[in-house]
Symmetry: C2
Subunit: 187 residues, 2 copies
Amino acid sequence: MALDHAILVSLLERPGSGYELARRFERSIGYFWTATHQQIYRVLRRMEAEGLLDVREVAQQGRPDKREYSVAAPGRAALSRWLHEPIEPESLRHELAVKIRGAAFDEPAALAGEVERHRRVHAERLAHYLAGQERDFTGPGAPPPDPGRELQHVVLRGGIAYERMTLDWLDDVLATLHRLAGGLPPS
Amino acid sequence: MALDHAILVSLLERPGSGYELARRFERSIGYFWTATHQQIYRVLRRMEAEGLLDVREVAQQGRPDKREYSVAAPGRAALSRWLHEPIEPESLRHELAVKIRGAAFDEPAALAGEVERHRRVHAERLAHYLAGQERDFTGPGAPPPDPGRELQHVVLRGGIAYERMTLDWLDDVLATLHRLAGGLPPS
DNA sequence: GACCGCATGTAATAGGTTACATGATTCG
DNA sequence: CGAATCATGTAACCTATTACATGCGGTC
């Protein structure tokens, strides 16, 4: 049920439509929780029916109308209850690692291209996070800090640390694949 | 469909029963892919029906019989095909990060206990990985390296790097929560 | 006698992805 | 005129989790 809570947090940070939420799940919130628009619309309907959210139809000029959701009192209470419950520390789910172990039963060197592609994607994500950090937190035009922003920043620092760690690890993987491919480079 | 491939890799590394696979998914393979026994039994049945796996009924003394699965030729081909397909670099899914951002709308300090609990779990995992590394790869009794083991080792190093990064990040989170709780410590 | 480990499953539900569908407006 | 963006949804399917269920053998 964590999508429910991610939506509550995002709507508390700023009310918005399903479409806007879907876009946030491609950026900011999406750094650590993903969801597609189909899923978001489904959950929004359910949460509205459960009385956790309020809706306001907003007419717009030059654009389709939208349904702007905001968090109702019971929604806030539900979030608060969840925040005080313990959750299970979660485990990784890393498909590429399955491939790497599987490479032992195929040509290990054939995987290098795929690993390099992943490396590029992670390098882009890191650059994107760093730009966001500069823009929203550490740069000259950034708004002054407050508790909510401090917490957003520490989560972003987690994303940055994750991408840096991943890049280092993928370099290790590439070096290992090259070593296995024959030429042992000088140690 | 990645559970299928994780099972193929694990059975190629060593044939085994559903029960044994479930145990491996709590250790080694489970470092980067999780699955419960219910799911594993269901998928094994399907993969057997699809001809990807062979089964052998093994009678045991003092224990229930078991169905030992191994990878059939079509299974090996399916794995090889998958290894040559690109996969999407995946995104994090970190429930604790949702909680941290949500803490802005509750008492931030109340989250410190939960974060510390997660920190302890990750410290235990790191210790467990390091012990496994010593036992299986770097210690004196470890078997000699071969390509398959090198690849297992580089995946384990990824798990170690992940846990170290997570511990550092959780320390950052705790420091941030304490700072928000009032006393600004000397910088 | 109670509990743990080995071994296998079913059933119900929840969560998530993919494909399909519609319709307006703006930009090149 | 075509493509992209804004905006909302349905339907089918697949994947994953939780709860329930059984039975033997060994250990405390």
